[in-house]
């Protein structure tokens, strides 16, 4: 299960965490999961450089990649991720069928955490472009 909320600012989200209604939402969500202790809560900042995350979330299918970088590779990881995003943006600009929006963001709480979101028209959409660096 994935629960997603989009905020204008990190401060707005953290301010809500002290409210009774937030506690009630958390209680209900925990009741739906078999192992609440394995729950992962992250705030992700998505730069304006890419598509708005809502465009990905509002697509019929959202591809979600949640990754955590190995110790000591963080500095190398983000230039690589940026390069991957540039490649995907070129594919998008060329009119890749079924690809609606994509974005990449970094976790506020964990420097090793990042999220890659893609909005697709359907789960069956075919991507036949060969990756080239």
């Amino acid at each position: 299960m994935l629960y997603s909320a989009v905020w204008d600012s990190f401060e707005q989200s953290t301010a809500r965490e002290g409210t009774p209604s937030h506690a009630e939402v958390v209680r209900k969500l925990d009741a739906l999961t078999d192992k609440p202790s394995r729950k992962v809560v992250l705030h992700i900042r998505f730069p304006d450089l890419y598509d708005p995350p809502l465009s990905c979330i509002e697509s019929p299918v959202t591809e979600l990649n949640l990754g955590f970088v190995k110790e000591g590779l963080v500095d190398e990881w983000y230039p690589r991720a940026k390069s991957c995003m540039s490649h995907m943006r070129r594919i998008q600009a060329e009119g890749q069928e079924g690809l609606r929006a994509l974005t990449f963001g970094r976790a506020v709480e964990d420097v090793t955490g990042s999220v890659y979101l893609v909005g697709w028209n359907s789960i069956e959409v075919r991507v036949s472009v060969v990756w080239r660096t």
Partner: protein, 43 residues
């Protein structure tokens, strides 16, 4: 909130970009979760 439909796109024939991209990315990661999600709106 939504349901997950794991890995279907990546496993389908012809999705070479995902395989190649993964080869570039996997060496950096200690953990990766890939999900395909249908989001439902809740008031």
């Amino acid at each position: 909130m939504g349901t997950q439909d794991h890995m279907k796109i990546g496993m389908q024939e012809g999705h070479e970009i995902i395989v190649k991209e993964s080869e570039e990315i996997f060496p950096f990661l200690r953990d990766l979760q890939l999900h395909h999600v249908h989001f439902e709106r809740h008031a």
